[in-house]
């Protein structure tokens, strides 16, 4: 039985109540600078680093020595320039003791539209990986993807009847072939993730698609590990973690988000969005090639 807990409160305070070294994966998307005015008092980009550092200090304390912190963030434009608060945050967090292990790129395939005279649409965000030590846990085999040759060539050659037959006979025949091909044609992914934002989901307006936390949870945790999102919002990370049999803890300062999440959790499973884990997993696997 895995646990799932949501806390209503300010994570700068609530995190202090957690034990040292207790979390395997922290994955979060903090409120962007100058956003969510009402609740966070409108953090100006110039104040963003000072606001975040006490929180990252607590995150460093609660994270397991072999754990990972994935920070989804992107600097806003101010006065025609990208603001530098993200760069400064990385430098300051290293002084706190964090290791800046890697920076993944989330390529947002369906980025927000718009036209400006001196700028194109922003189609990527940073997924910054921090660790407490070089010996963090990473399960690379679990996020392998089909190689281009298989996805691009072999799948296309299948006739429509083959595909239909496969869908009706799960686990036999064509399914076997699939698994053969998989074993011969899987490759490790890169540090560029291609995923569309989920825009049509009225129930939970998540900042990132479920495939995103799913990918990192697979990569950095095992079942029964603890996953933390200190800015849980509508609870996308917690929902995915629970479905994947990980213990999860979320902190949210806005009562609206918190109550909505609690309602969703209380609802019977059949009232939740219908996507099964199986479906989502395949989408993730194929995301790279779409």
């Amino acid at each position: 039985m895995v646990l799932q807990q949501a806390i209503l409160g300010d994570c700068a305070q609530e995190l202090k109540k957690l034990g040292d070294d207790s979390i395997s994966l922290i994955i979060t998307s903090p409120p962007y600078a100058d956003q969510r005015r009402r609740t966070y008092g409108g953090i100006h980009p110039d104040d963003y680093v000072a606001w975040f550092l006490p929180i990252s200090e607590q995150l460093l304390r609660v994270l397991s020595p072999t754990g990972t912190f994935i920070l989804n963030i992107k600097e806003r434009v101010l006065g025609g320039e990208r603001h530098t608060y993200v760069l400064e945050m990385i430098l300051e967090m290293r002084k706190q003791g964090w290791l800046w292990t890697e920076e993944f790129v989330w390529h947002k395939k369906n980025c927000y539209p718009g036209k400006w005279p001196n700028r194109f649409r922003d189609a990527w965000e940073r997924l910054i990986q921090f660790n407490k030590s070089r010996r963090f846990k990473m399960f690379q085999d679990l996020v392998m993807v089909p190689t281009g040759g298989w996805a691009k060539t072999r799948l296309k050659k299948l006739s429509e009847t083959d595909k239909r037959r496969d869908e009706s006979k799960v686990g036999s025949g064509f399914g076997k072939n699939i698994s053969n091909w998989l074993s011969r044609t899987m490759a490790y992914p890169t540090n560029v993730l291609h995923m569309a934002t989920e825009c049509g989901n009225k129930n939970h307006s998540a900042v990132f698609p479920e495939a995103l936390p799913e990918w990192f949870i697979k990569l950095f945790t095992k079942e029964n590990d603890w996953v933390l999102d200190p800015f849980m919002g509508s609870g996308t990370v917690l929902r995915v973690a629970h479905r994947m049999n990980r213990n999860s803890l979320g902190i949210e300062i806005q009562p609206d988000y918190y109550r909505q999440f609690m309602r969703d959790m209380a609802a019977p499973v059949h009232e939740r969005p219908p996507k099964s884990q199986e479906t989502r997993s395949r989408e993730t696997i194929f995301a790279r090639h779409s």
Copy 2:
């Protein structure tokens, strides 16, 4: 008649001989930290910022007030961490007077293979855009790309007879639809560039594919403008600029690279790589969807 000039020397010195405000576009990929040991004395990542700042100061001087500087760079891994010299360079260059306008991502579709226990393949590099003023020149219309929906779906569905019929009956029924589609066939690109590295070109081991400087030259310059690459290497930027009728200037400290470039330039056109500008342009336009 457009000019093309290559200088053998250290750009930190050679740049001082150029006039103020004379360059429309600077595009370069400086030697990565700890690379090219022999000529640059093996710049350690910790020394990289101090080494680069005198150069960026000269670049700021020679760039036109409406010009753009595109810096292709990526931080190396040192001790299990991404080194911070790129972050520090951005912060220091802003103190010099540069505006950090944007950061494009170059997604390297065919990135270098390899496997490490705690890291995936690095499939992206930064293309950092600096400017001297907010009023830089940008010709967005020249780099528009076909929209995904039109290119992928609608065009495929049209039979040849449909297409012919449409051309003869403009303004009615089907023709109207076509014109609606046509008006929405092209879209502005995003700040994520999908380009494969050119690995098969034995003559010039370029750090980036020709489509990359071509894209930025189209976007930020007009014919007869001046393009500068202070670390020209084998001269990819100069070759592309010349083909596009831009004046170009390159500086290279290694005699081998310099001599090879001079040999290539002296060679008759028919001995050069056969790709025409027309071919390259279409590849660039469609690169996003391949």
